[in-house]
């Protein structure tokens, strides 16, 4: 396991390097010249050139990449074009809220999906099952932003149960309850999409387990139905689900970008959108890098959990 993880880590580093290079190309080749955004509209060509030099954009691409990489390895993510602040400071400020939003969403999503998926499988082909699978199908098909707008309209504008956005009330520091109050709607939006998907995985995994011989053994022992379902069923059904959690992370990041924007959540997602609009190359690079690290790390963590949950893997690796 240890050896495997070290290998995974090294491969991950290489992948990361490739990602930085590719995103550097994509970001720099995307249309729009950042320099035009930082001068007045009647600026001369010389002024533009000066601005490019100030932003470090006048050198050839490869050299700029090498420069970026060298700084990055030294822990320097550069300066934001737009705010003239160190990128790392900006990220640090935004990471917390995003982490809070995504983490809560993920937990809520599984708290919804696992019981519903299991229940749906146990009551297979009943009207409850049809209701759950039908609703989850709906949840998968509705785009995040649309659901967000519906939620805002219904729960914030019409019913006024929740604020329309932000992390706390205007001009307030935000106590715990106030934050929770602001958190609920965006979390529900993200959690709906993720759990809708997850319910279907849990359900089908569970149904597959019901056909396993060892469940028949459990029944033949005279165990109570709930013991059969939980001790023998759910545990085994969730093992393949662990790998799916890994694939949820990119979706979570994508969902967070859109949802944060809709709910004016002061996280990385909102920063991403504004940085794209401002052609803020260094910030975009840093965010891409952070997302890539998050995804790679999540996948590695998934493997570890998978191995921990399944004794067949856990013991063979020694």
């Amino acid at each position: 396991m240890k050896k495997y993880l070290v290998k995974r880590f090294l491969v991950g580093m290489i992948v990361l390097l490739l990602i930085t290079f590719l995103s550097f190309l994509i970001i720099n080749f995307s249309p729009g010249d950042p320099a035009t955004l930082y001068v007045s509209s009647d600026a001369t060509e010389a002024q533009l050139e000066q601005t490019r030099e100030n932003l470090g954009l006048n050198k050839p691409l490869l050299i700029r990449y090498g420069h970026w990489l060298k700084n990055f390895i030294q822990g320097d993510l550069g300066i934001s074009f737009a705010t003239r602040q160190p990128v790392s400071n900006m990220l640090l400020e935004r990471v917390g809220p995003t982490f809070l939003l995504m983490g809560t969403s993920l937990i809520v999503a599984y708290l919804i999906a696992i019981p519903l998926g299991v229940y749906s499988a146990v009551k297979q082909k009943s009207w409850v099952d049809y209701l759950i699978t039908g609703t989850s199908f709906l949840g998968v098909s509705i785009p995040n932003f649309f659901l967000g707008l519906i939620f805002i309209y219904v729960f914030a504008v019409q019913l006024e149960w929740f604020p329309t956005g932000g992390m706390h009330d205007l001009g307030s520091e935000g106590g715990f309850l106030e934050r929770v109050h602001h958190l609920i709607l965006p979390v529900l939006v993200i959690a709906t999409t993720i759990s809708a998907n997850m319910i279907r995985y849990v359900r089908s995994s569970m149904i597959e387990i019901f056909g396993e011989n060892y469940l028949r053994t459990a029944k033949a022992k005279g165990l109570k139905p709930q013991n059969i379902i939980f001790r023998h069923g759910v545990r085994n059904a969730l093992i393949p689900i662990i790998t799916i959690v890994g694939t949820d992370i990119p979706k979570l990041i994508g969902g967070a970008i859109v949802t944060e924007q809709i709910f004016q959540w002061p996280g990385l997602g909102a920063l991403t959108i504004s940085s794209i609009q401002a052609r803020d190359y260094n910030v975009l690079m840093a965010i891409t890098l952070l997302s890539a690290i998050a995804v790679l790390f999540a996948n590695m963590l998934t493997d570890v959990f998978y191995a921990a949950a399944d004794p067949r893997i856990r013991l063979n690796e020694n």
């Binding site: 053994t217 005279g222 085994n236």
Partner: protein, 351 residues
């Protein structure tokens, strides 16, 4: 006469499928006496598993229809019990081991817990005591180093060892009846012999009756006291091992015996019963075996044979036993067996 512990009467079971109703078990009758081993033999699909899983209440609810009959366990009809009461019978009074030891154990639970789990379910003991009993059980089925083995997972055991664990689970609560559904089919021959020997040994130690399901007649002689032959959802012949092996009456039993690889049989080339079993979606009228039967009478295609007694313990459902039936000469192999049977009887009379 020994006490009957289980009486299955007129059991009829069918499955609702997209193609229609599958009449898997069509009126099965058998008794099980205390302390005996009853073997049920028959081709694949004859309904052996279905009828015995019905005894355990293991058939799924969804498409299964138990159309009639009784399953009397110590006089109590198990088919009338509710799920809660049936749960108390399963594993405690009647236990079972299955054909496939590789997939019948939970891969993510230690073997010790899997045994202890059924003990704690049926007895008033602490978890610690249950584990102790489980370890004892593990030793009893011939697993070495029980202390460390208790904490191992199924994949750390070989096929034969896993079947031993299955036996430990089944016998953990000292059940009155053990249903062994082809327990050795998935194992290689030497392991097979060890497992059968273990079952015989534990049977006397724990004093259980065994229903032993197999399609290998070769192992029946060493295991069973009595044999029942099943065909297309019905029992066609039953009797003691000697009666079945040396004085068989039903042509299907003849076919089974003639296709059994013995030294003599191998010399003359192994026989196979022609044709294939009937489709149970549309069970035939008359004797279901008639179309494959070289000795079939006209009536076999029209009317279902009655059950004729051959002795007090031996019965067969074939029109050949009817007083007016023509006398037929069974295959050479069966005649040879009958001669041996007669000699045996004579010897017994002399004693």
């Amino acid at each position: 006469m020994r006490k009957k512990i289980l009486e299955v009467k007129n059991l009829e079971i069918s499955f609702q499928t997209y193609a229609g109703e599958v009449h898997a078990v069509r009126g099965v009758n058998f008794d099980l006496y205390e302390g005996e081993t009853l073997a049920i033999v028959g081709e694949s699909g004859s309904g052996k598993s279905v009828s015995t899983q019905a005894v355990m209440g293991l058939l799924g609810k969804k498409n299964t229809h138990i159309k009639g009959g009784e399953i009397l366990y110590q006089g109590q009809d198990l088919l009338k019990l509710n799920e809660d009461d049936m749960q108390k019978v399963r594993g405690k009074e009647i236990a079972t081991i299955f054909q496939d030891p590789m997939t019948s154990l939970n891969p993510t639970m230690t073997v010790g817990r899997q045994i202890a789990e059924s003990i704690i379910q049926h007895q008033v003991v602490s978890w610690g005591e249950a584990l102790e009993q489980a370890e004892e059980m593990l030793g009893m089925v011939g697993v070495k180093n029980t202390k460390s083995r208790m904490n191992h997972y199924p994949h750390q055991f070989s096929g034969g060892m896993r079947q031993r664990v299955m036996i430990a689970i089944a016998l953990a609560c000292k059940p009155k009846i053990l249903i062994a559904d082809e327990p050795t089919t998935a194992l290689d021959v030497t392991i097979q012999a060890q497992i059968l020997e273990l079952m015989n040994e534990l049977k006397t130690k724990i004093n259980t009756s065994i229903i032993f399901i197999t399609h290998d007649l070769g192992v029946v002689a060493n295991m069973a006291d009595r044999v029942a032959v099943m065909y297309a959802g019905k029992l066609v012949e039953w009797g003691t091992v000697d009666e079945l092996f040396y004085n068989p009456q039903h042509p299907y039993t003849w076919g089974l015996l003639a296709s059994m690889p013995t030294l003599e049989n191998l010399e003359h080339g192994l026989y196979t019963i022609p044709g294939s079993p009937p489709n149970l979606l549309h069970p035939p009228v008359g004797d279901a075996f008639a179309p494959r039967n070289a000795y079939a009478l006209e009536i076999d295609f029209k009317k279902e044979p009655e059950v004729f007694p051959v002795s007090k313990t031996h019965f067969a459902a074939t029109w050949l036993l009817h007083a007016e039936a023509p006398k037929v000469t069974p295959p050479a192999e069966i005649q040879r067996r009958r001669e041996m049977f007669d000699k045996k009887l004579m010897r017994r009379e002399q004693v």
